[in-house]
């Protein structure tokens, strides 16, 4: 069940989930809340084009690969142009905490106005699992014919929050009742 703006605000008020900094009222619509773009993005180096990645190879480590293949870029108020056909990694400015007491999970999705000029905000990985804490990593891709100017603080994606049925194993104590870690 997708939560309405009122239900999201109720969970925030009760401390059962958190979004920091707290979104202003105008960031909500009836069933979602907008999140904004953090100034820091990671841009793939031009020399990486054409290289082949083998994610199934023994010892493959995605974080190290990305660290070695990208450069951090801080977007100023003047903005940064995302060329067509380009992938960059980005993060939301807001830190989201879907702690288990809230009994919710979420999906991060694009905004229609940005989608229509070709901007995708994730690459088939929109799920924010129950219990997730942190800023949300985005995969920004410009699928359109023109460059798209990114600015820090722009509304970049929307968070759709859904209730979960039952309690995940990692939030369920009973199977380990009496367990004592040494």
């Amino acid at each position: 069940m997708i939560l309405t703006d009122r239900e999201i605000q109720k969970l925030l008020k009760e401390g059962l989930i958190s979004i920091e900094p707290k979104p202003p009222l105008e960031a909500y619509d009836s069933t979602a809340v907008d999140l904004t773009l953090d100034p820091l993005i990671r841009v793939f180096r031009p020399g990486t084009a054409g290289l082949i990645i083998d994610p199934s190879a023994p010892g493959y480590k995605v974080t190290e690969l990305i660290r070695g293949a990208t450069d951090p870029q801080t977007i100023t108020e003047q903005g940064w142009d995302l060329p067509r056909g380009t992938l960059v990694l980005a993060w939301t400015h807001e830190r989201v905490d879907l702690n288990f007491e809230g009994k919710v999970a979420a999906r991060v999705e694009g905004k229609s106005g940005l989608a229509r000029i070709g901007l995708g905000v994730h690459v088939t990985a929109p799920t924010i699992h129950a219990g997730f804490p942190g800023t949300i990593q985005l995969e920004l891709v410009n699928h359109g014919p023109m460059s798209i100017k990114l600015r820090p603080g722009m509304a970049i994606c929307q968070l759709i929050i859904e209730t979960i049925k039952g309690t995940p194993s990692k939030a369920h104590k009973s199977q380990f009742a009496g367990q004592r870690a040494r």
């Binding site: 997730f132 995940p168 199977q175």
Partner: protein, 88 residues
């Protein structure tokens, strides 16, 4: 709730992330996690989701660099989280 012992290796791909190492049954694994979640060399992981002789299966908040979301760790790698709120 339990805390998993970790070693901080450095910053993740973003300043909000910490790159950490954990000791698993199959050796060290690295994972980028929310830096604010870390507490004195530990990472909250909720309750273990499985157990076998001497080892507990824990679900990490994010996948490791090799893609694992659930990993087996020695019981000794976990400590109780006395600050956690009660859940089901």
């Amino acid at each position: 709730m339990m805390l998993l012992k970790i070693k901080i290796l450095g910053e993740g791909l973003h300043p909000s992330e910490a790159f950490i190492s954990i000791e698993t049954k199959n050796g060290p694994e690295q994972v980028a996690v929310d830096a604010k979640s870390l507490r004195n060399g530990t990472l909250p992981i909720g309750w273990p989701v499985g157990k076998t002789a001497g080892f507990l299966l824990v679900e990490l908040p994010r996948p490791t660099v090799s893609g694992a979301r659930r990993v087996w760790v020695r019981k000794e790698e976990l400590v109780p989280d006395k600050t956690a709120r009660k859940t089901a």
